[in-house]
Symmetry: D3
Subunit: 254 residues, 6 copies
């Protein structure tokens, strides 16, 4: 069983799916603090694209640029993390790449699913509630989603008044716990990462910070030598079908 040996190094590429990136430095520091020994972290952002992702229009702007980054920069990494709770481009990147790709929403919801019998998502905007709810349904987790509650604060304003953001987050989380029966809270935006500890300290239930969850899922998947299945949803596209769009079909490793 020589195969069953955990890797000792893991090179992780983190793509912040925004054109201008005020979080790049803090995210790098945050993720390096959370990474295991042997995990190296590079955080990059897009060449253009939205300032934040709060709609399907934003997502459409970001995804081709995410894929371009994957093509340009993916070589030499062991895993890719797309740093946004909408999990933008995760499916497309998995089609393209032969290395694991982690999304914060998928990782955070599955991790939360192991910490209690029902979880709630703390969305930044009410308008994203149906989106998160639909995502949970796609992942088969509808019955374990107690509710989606929202802060009512846009992504770019989350850190403008951190104390207030934390206050609102705690109040909304308590509503989910008491009214909806949530046993676990999943933060619904990776822009809340810097405030996660402050929120966690004031709540008595586990608070899943999805960026951290995605890093751990990615490290685990790399350790186990696993990658997404090619037999279904993430089937490798016919290379002739994606020729000519700046997206030559080759894995980042090769």
């Amino acid at each position: 069983m020589a195969e069953a040996v955990s890797r000792t190094t893991r090179r992780v590429l983190v793509i912040n799916p925004v054109g201008v990136d005020p979080w790049e430095e803090s995210d790098t520091k945050y993720l390096r603090g959370l990474a295991r020994r042997g995990t190296t972290i590079d955080v990059i952002h897009l060449d253009g694209g939205p300032d934040s992702l709060e709609s399907a229009v934003n997502e459409a702007q970001a995804i081709p640029r995410i894929l371009r980054r994957v093509v340009e920069k993916g070589t030499g990494y062991d895993g890719v993390l797309i740093n946004c709770f909408m999990d933008p481009g995760v499916t497309a990147a998995r089609e393209y790449l032969d290395i694991p790709v982690a999304g914060p929403a998928e990782s955070g919801m599955n991790l939360a699913n192991m910490l209690g019998s029902r979880f709630s998502i703390l969305s930044v905007l009410k308008s994203l509630g149906p989106r998160h709810r639909t995502h949970a349904r796609v992942l088969g987790l509808s019955e374990r989603l107690a509710s989606v509650v929202d802060l009512g604060i846009p992504v770019l304003d989350l850190q403008k008044n951190s104390d207030r953001t934390v206050e609102v987050a705690v109040n909304r989380a308590r509503l989910a716990i008491e009214r909806d029966g949530a046993e676990v809270i999943v933060l619904g935006c990776t822009g809340l990462a810097a405030l996660a500890e402050a929120i966690r300290k004031r709540l008595e239930v586990p608070v899943v910070e999805p960026l951290a969850a995605a890093l751990k899922v990615l490290e685990s998947t790399i350790d186990l030598g696993l990658t997404h299945s090619r037999a279904g949803l993430y089937r490798r596209p016919d290379p002739r079908k994606i020729h000519g769009y700046g997206l030559p079909l080759k894995g980042a490793r090769g």
Copy 2:
């Protein structure tokens, strides 16, 4: 009740989400044949983009170009139809536009849901099965989906040997009917529109051709003066958040 009067004219923009479009003429003829009196049809394709949509990578290539077409060409229309069974960009276009946007998969599955207690989707490629299955789940229709069966023929080859395509389609549909209990067949690619009648003639269950279904849903929605809700999934994005990407936020009507 002066309001409850059906419109007498409806201007429909059909976007074929491909860069080179061998179907433009035949689709125009097909849709004009199916349209009611008073419905006008314009079919356009993208400025670049994939030849056909068979993956999330293709979809990512197409969606921004679909949105660009919506911005450039949408003014003056009463409804938009995005002509592909992946319903690419339907969510984003609904965020952007104040007029109805129809997708063939959504329209075809809801129509099929009214013709029998379970339907099956006839996918072109096996790799698209999980995608269609997931789409049905998002629409809340999982329990009514009997199965997804596939032709094993890529989109661009569907009409190369029409007789064989029809033969395979009929055989796979029969499997869905007999083995899986399907009462209705939904064609899983709008590229099958030209063959729908030939397939229908050889089967004893309703065959829903999704491009036609989308046209009828669109005409109906226009007649009723209805548009998608702004209260949830299709909330209008903050205009400041989508500035600068060639996508100014104004409805096609304005």
Copy 3:
């Protein structure tokens, strides 16, 4: 593809499933206003039967009379619409007839399913809530039903004080939108058709009036040459098994 031509005329029979019918004239006017060019509408009521349908007992009284109307009057029509949100006799009429049969609840819920990610039903009486909820479950739409809220006004009283009915409807709809996350409202009684516009004007989400939805579904189905499947739930009964009850087995067309 000569087949793919929309019909230019459609003869629609609307059956009001009540014995005394104060709505016949207004429904005729309403539906003719909504119909496309080429659609003719005849509204008839039953020979006896309940004044309104608010229970399974009422439904049992109405269904055989609905079927008798289908037998007596169905010949020469292209489609039948049974005008009640309980969809009474729709299944039985589909067994009997070879032309499309539309029900307002089925049509309204499937249409609402395309306008937002969750809808609520505005029931007339609280006692009908479980019935509508069960209907949504049968149609596979449970996960898309946000809630059922009720007016607490019997069918025959809906128009006695129209202003109050509209006021209550708007208030209850707002509760569904704000508390339950409804993005679309489906009116739960076709007796509300005359008030639909007044309700719609005061709400910011789409309001689906199910009688109008059923007409559009029926026109669409006729246009597409589709009818309900005979391969399952609506299988044609053995003629010997329904002989002798005033229900000879022949389609309305023949």
Copy 4:
């Protein structure tokens, strides 16, 4: 706790929902054999109506006549059993009556649900499969229904060649057990009651005969002093709304 004393007598009215009834004598004997001491059984049939129930058209013919029997004959009984696996008129009879009403399908499926983790229904005709499947969904039991398999033998032919019927039933049940994972078989027609033992002897899983199940559920409900809830689906109709149809609103007891 004087109340918690089981009744010592129970008068049960069994309504065979058919116009001509070859089963009346054998059903009486069968049910009396199964009844507890203290339970009296009267089996009656309808004044007219279908020979057997195999469609929604048949059901529409039968239900008003079932209700008429309830009105004419229900007084003095402690419970009513409607003897058909379609559970025809069970909902309407519950609205009308203040005593328990049992249906074989509902009783048989809930009993089966306690004998194993998944059950299959052995339908007489393939055409009834979607109906039984829908019924299971209404009862919330979809996830526990392994499959519906069918005999392909009409109700009136079941006993024409009993040996063959048993043979076919055993073969189809084995398919459900081996292919679909059924742990329990529910006979899908009360016309199979006479053959239940012969089928049971040849299978190694529990075989639920639904007529017997309904009798036991009815006896149990009577013993416990329970009746269906009036707070929702079975709410008592407004007596003014069902006046004039031969269905005066009073409970069978009063």
Copy 5:
């Protein structure tokens, strides 16, 4: 059909899964009052074990002792009832025994499922809510569970102030009925049996007392000659695999 004769005697063993048992006498009296003629009831408790079952830790303490009681005392009985709403050891006892084993939660929920379209469970402690909710999901009844509400009174305190317990129970049940749409209330602890009538008198919906429900399910199953399926979840374990733990594999009858 000599087989289809109901048994005239039924010997039922009731196991109270606690080490010290203040309920033994009152339960015996209660169950004998509810039993049919011909049913004999013996109530026993464990040799050690928890005082009450309110956690998975308690359950783990109880189950091996329950199985030991089954081995020591089960011979000569026709059915076993494990008297706790957690249904502790029901699955294991079914593996071991060839006679029916009833659990109050399973019996109570399936019975409630036949009395209305949705039921709520009245749990003793909030901490047991997720447990009951999970149990309903396992039984396939999630869609029929309106809610779980709780008394906030530990099992051993239920009868300390009976009037207050009844008062709280009635208030919480009303919340379930009015807010959550419950049509039936299932008491979530068999320790409430003595108060069931007092609660029932003050509510207008059916109140299912699960210990009584389990007795009736057990009597019914014995009458019908049915036992749990051996083809799946309750498959008989390999006797060599359970040797040596005080649990010789033989049915209680043999």
Copy 6:
């Protein structure tokens, strides 16, 4: 954000829930090979108990002994892994402990849920299929479970003829992939760990070995400073209620 620093050491206690343990040495080696730097692994077995877990009776034998091990040995560890795909005692251990507790089935299914849109479980025995299926339902993952297929080889025989076990496993997995649409295979017994690589090499889809998955979930949870929620299913029991059973209520850390 000093808190957001990953731990550098993690002490993991692995409990093999069997009385005689032929796997202790190989599991220790296997897990140490997979562990990250900084993770220490101790594998212990029970003081008595079953040879393998293949039934609820076995589980009942094992759980109290697992809890005893938790009490005796848990102090000083950062996490506990219970090494069996039945996840025996995971719920009870979580009630008792303040450190994370991982189960292979829960971990393996959630990990598989991130590698493809549907997974199948490769059970050792057919009799365990309903158990695994029920477990998936409890975790909310029913819709993502394609099927359960089985080897038909008891746990203790898995390694008797390793080549044959691998051969059967590969054949059954292929059936799940081709017939049932599985995109990922989850091995349904941790006794297959030693054969996982051999199976993986012959399949083209990801194979999740659940013991390894549980280790990675445990390491991740420890790194993130998370533990199961106390607000619901895993609420801390009242210490007075578990006194006197050798299970004093204190966390392993304290």
